[in-house]
Structures are given as structure tokens and as C-alpha cells.
Symmetry: C2
Subunit: 145 residues, 2 copies
């Protein structure tokens, strides 16, 4: 099902992001991966599947193709502004994974603020006055049919 | 590929959450959907696919089965604490979808703080001192092989 006509922003977002490979490609792009072969090595993914997902991310304007920074003939996949705004989503996946999917002493990659060398604060939802709120404090209002 | 052995928390999280139906079931659970038939009606999904995804979410301890609150013989799917902690992820999908996937005057569902009737603040990543930080301010450190 394609939700391009759905009135739910979550449903529309999952049309492109409800896919493991797309999320991992975006993660890698944040980590500085730029080239087809580097995505392939990082992800251990078949070429045809990687091509398909990169095409989807280009079509969705999450990635864009640019000439290589080193002047070579390579084309590089770069996050657009729309793609860069997925940072909070990738951090949400990371923090939930850290909290629930690792044993306490299990080795894992960490995301650090470069300047301080410290972890990021835990993401929280808050209201417009900065008060932290939970799901139970909210409701979804659907548009009239 | 299953990333249960991956050292990346994002990869482990996407093993279960890198799936459109799982994300939409979790969204519906936050909206108060509890029963198989109600998920089916909400999602317009085939019974066998819904059964498969509900089973995955139970196995991942994101949902749990409980006796129906009304004393009937129904079993209800409820978010666990682990599932409730996906609220920030669903809000991240929603806010990104709102920002990029709707025309300005297009009808969409909205998430409101019940008490105020106002929208939530935009999610932001911040450091431990509360300073907002961007992806470019961060780096991922992988564990030694």
C-alpha cells in the first residue's frame, strides 16, 4: 500500500522510511559514506537491492548525486537538507536500540558530540513550553473526511 | 540480514522497526487500537501479514497480550514499556512527514498535547548541557574489532 494520499504524516513517512535498507543507507550517509561501493561494503547488500534503495532515496530527495569532492569521475551520494533532517530519527532509533537491544557490557558503536566527546542527551518529546510529555499526554486529531 | 550481532544500535533497531507495517501498528497502538480486527480495519492489511507483524512485535516485547479491559473474551495488544519508549521515534517520523510530505494547506492528522490543545515542540538533538546539536557536530565511534 502506498500512502501518498494518507492524511497521516507517519504513514507517508513510512512509505519511504519503513524499510530497513533505506534507514541504514541514511545512517551510513550521516557517517560520511558517499559512494556506491562504500555503501555496498558497509551494508553487505546485493548490488541490485542497493541500486533500488539509492534510487528511492534520490526520488524522495533524501539523497542527491554530486560530483566527487576529489575531482575524480565518481558520483557521490549526499544527504539533502530534507535528508539531514532525518538525524533526529536516526538518533531515536539509536537510543532505543542502546536502551533495549544490548546487554550492559556488550560492545557497541557510540554517537558522540565531537567537541566534548560526550554522548547526546536522551531525546524527549516536550510541549511548546519545554515541559516533557509522554504519549498519554497527547491525542491525534484526524481531519474531517 | 539479521543484525542481532551488529555492534550498531541503529542496525539492531531496524531489524524490527525497519518495516512499514510494524511502524504503523506501533503508531496505531499509541492511538489506542487494541484488537486484531481494529488493526486490520485501520491498516487495510491482509490477515496473514498482520498476524506475522503482531507476532514479531510480541516476540520483540514491544507489544504484550492482555485480557480485554471490558471483561470480554478478547485478547488485546498493549504496548509494553519498551514499546511506549518508541513514542519519540513515531513523533520523529510524524514531524518529518509534516515538514516535507504535505502541501501547506493539505489536510493531515495532528498530534496535540491534550491539556493545551497545542502541537508538540519540534524534536531536536542536544548535548548533555541542553545545547542543540546537528549531525555535523557528532561522530560515531565503532568498537575495536
Amino acid at each position: 500500500m502506498n500512502s501518498v494520499a494518507s492524511t497521516c504524516p507517519v504513514a507517508r513517512a513510512t512509505d519511504i522510511l519503513g524499510d530497513r535498507w533505506c534507514l541504514l543507507i541514511v545512517r551510513d550517509a550521516f557517517d560520511g559514506v558517499r559512494r556506491f561501493g562504500d555503501f555496498q561494503r558497509s551494508l553487505g547488500i546485493a548490488r541490485n537491492i542497493l541500486s533500488d534503495r539509492l534510487r528511492k532515496l534520490l526520488d524522495a530527495e533524501i539523497l542527491q548525486l554530486q560530483d566527487a569532492a576529489d575531482g575524480s569521475s565518481y558520483q557521490e551520494y549526499r544527504l539533502t537538507r530534507k535528508g539531514e533532517d532525518l538525524f533526529v530519527l536516526i538518533v531515536a532509533l539509536r537510543q532505543w536500540g542502546e536502551q533495549y537491544l544490548f546487554e550492559p557490557h556488550e560492545a557497541r558503536s557510540v554517537l558522540l558530540e565531537t567537541a566534548s566527546g560526550q554522548a547526546l542527551a536522551a531525546l524527549q518529546c516536550s510541549n511548546l513550553h519545554g515541559k516533557v510529555i509522554q504519549a498519554a499526554d497527547t491525542q491525534v486529531i484526524k481531519p474531517a473526511q
